[in-house]
């Protein structure tokens, strides 16, 4: 692969972006072949943050391995944990209490909003706007405080356990979530005023990084990046887990396929998440927050697969069990890896400066790509 990139035409320039580069938000290494300022090829090189999470999970029990997945896509740690808990529950055929299901979905959607807010701030900073980062972190901090109060941690919560959630919600939880929704509705128009309507921003985003819906399907691009290309790929709609089928929300679709479309999808998805939380926050059913499970979990022999919609796309957890206390094999289908594979196709023929906009709107989280 590396040799290939050097056998370029006369006058081509091969440059390295990363692994230590402020625009890649992590240790992503891109080898870019340039002709003048036009990109001829982008090769992502991975492996700088490989922690062999899949292999580690094979030596841990079904209760223990969930915490490791928080370290994959650390911005949607709750949703990763949720996928693993669901997969184990599918194998054990545990009925999760209604209260736990509602709490899980509220937590998932709060995580999604927090993740998109961080993306909005970080992407604006990539494109040269500095203050949006602080505006985004102001609202995200409120979510982090809610998480801290109920789950005990701000980022890697480990709150979902097989059978439900680890602890009941904090007495202040409902009040604080409602306060957050009021604050969010008061502040969300600032996002549009500062960035969405800005002419400089629009010119940098429109018709940049075009990805047709056929290519999005071919590369397996999911999540807001896929929906920006008009591919209906929301797992919450297509194979609903928990009680998503009883909730009212829209799958946000944009058909333009450029960076601005992917941007708009994420902004609108935050509003849909707020809509989901509003439906649930006053209707958390009474009952147990955790189903009764055995002290030692043993999955029956077989294969189990569960997919969920994280803030970046479709996360799949595939467990092969031999009947023991630890999984025989675990495979994670992470959204970031597939989304990154489309970067080369998007970037070919565009200018080097636009690469930052493309990477920004793909919302890459490197530990999720590398695991």
């Amino acid at each position: 692969m590396i040799e290939e990139s050097f056998t370029t035409a006369e006058g081509d320039l091969v440059i390295n972006v990363g692994p230590q580069h402020p625009a890649t938000h992590g240790v992503l290494h891109l080898v870019i072949t340039l002709n003048g300022e036009t990109i001829k090829k982008v090769e992502p090189h991975l492996g700088y943050i490989h922690r062999s999470i899949e292999k580690m999970s094979e030596s841990l029990t079904y209760r223990q391995f969930i915490y490791v997945t928080s370290r994959m896509d650390y911005l949607s740690a709750h949703i990763n944990n949720h996928a693993c808990a669901l997969c184990v529950e599918k194998g054990l055929q545990i009925e999760v209490p209604g209260r736990a299901q509602s709490i899980r979905i509220i937590m998932d959607e709060l995580t999604r909003i927090a993740s998109h807010e961080l993306w909005w701030g970080a992407m604006s900073m990539d494109l040269g706007a500095f203050t949006p980062f602080f505006h985004a972190f102001r609202e995200r901090e409120v979510i982090n405080e809610i998480m801290e109060e109920t789950c005990g941690a701000r980022l890697t919560m480990n709150y979902m356990v097989p059978g439900g959630v680890m602890a009941d919600i904090h007495p202040n939880f409902q009040r604080r979530v409602k306060d957050f929704i009021t604050l969010y509705k008061k502040k969300i128009h600032e996002y549009d005023e500062l960035i969405t309507g800005n002419i400089i921003f629009q010119n940098r985003m429109k018709n940049v990084g075009y990805l047709s819906s056929e290519d999005a399907i071919a590369y397996g691009v999911t999540g807001p990046a896929g929906r920006g290309s008009g591919v209906s790929c929301d797992v919450r709609k297509h194979s609903p887990y928990e009680i998503y089928d009883k909730l009212e929300f829209d799958e946000v679709l944009e058909t333009a396929g450029d960076s601005f479309a992917r941007y708009l999808v994420r902004i609108r998805e935050m509003n849909q998440s707020v809509r989901i939380i509003e439906q649930l926050i006053d209707n958390i059913p009474d009952g147990d927050f955790q189903a009764k499970t055995k002290a030692v979990l043993k999955l029956p022999k077989g294969e189990f697969y569960q997919r969920v919609e994280t803030a970046r796309g479709e996360l799949g957890v595939y467990i092969v069990s031999e009947g023991g206390t630890t999984p025989y094999r675990i495979k994670y289908r992470s959204p970031g890896f597939s989304n990154l594979s489309a970067l080369d196709h998007m970037a070919r023929g565009s200018k080097l400066g636009d690469l930052v906009a493309m990477m920004g709107t793909l919302d890459l989280v490197i530990p999720d790509i590398d695991r």
């Binding site: 223990q64 109060e149 005990g152 680890m166 005023e193 960035i195 002419i199 400089i200």
Partner: protein
């Protein structure tokens, strides 16, 4: 592109910048909405569920609730906790298992709360400390039970 549309684009573009700057100026003149915290001077009050580090509460008689069952050691995914047991001789002359040391290695801990969930006698809990930096990594190996402590009466 017609000249009329061109001029319209220029003005709408300029107007979009004015809208953004209006928001910036609003915060420039509204100091009360500043949300930053002066960290080392004012320390945050963390909620009671915050997972800072594992501690073993002792009562005023220097007694803890740990029976040495090693449930926490088995539940830990990283090998953070090591329970070293010994045998006490009870007044009746019988041997009784008790903990000698409960070694806790903070450097390995990910604060996942699984040990506290696993403990059958509520002997350990999470503390709300967060400033863990020390000058030497050997200081991160902690013995959770106090020297000379023994198990509470009635905890089996």
């Amino acid at each position: 592109m017609s000249i009329g549309k061109y001029i319209k684009d220029v003005f709408s573009g300029l107007w979009s910048l004015v809208v953004g700057l209006k928001r910036t100026l609003y915060y420039f003149t509204h100091h009360k909405e500043i949300i930053t915290e002066q960290y080392p001077e004012t320390k945050p009050v963390l909620p009671e569920r915050f997972k800072g580090e594992v501690v073993m509460p002792h009562d005023e008689k220097n007694e803890h609730r740990c029976t040495g069952c090693t449930a926490c050691e088995l539940a830990c995914p990283n090998g953070t906790i090591k329970v070293i047991t010994k045998f006490d001789i009870t007044p009746e002359g019988k041997k009784k298992k008790a903990i000698d040391k409960l070694v806790y290695r903070l450097e390995l801990c990910t604060m996942c709360n699984l040990c506290i969930e696993a403990c059958p006698s509520d002997a350990i809990k999470m503390a709300q400390t967060f400033e863990h930096s020390v000058y030497d990594r050997s200081q991160l190996n902690k013995v959770l039970n106090n020297p000379g402590s023994k198990i509470m009466d009635g905890v089996e």
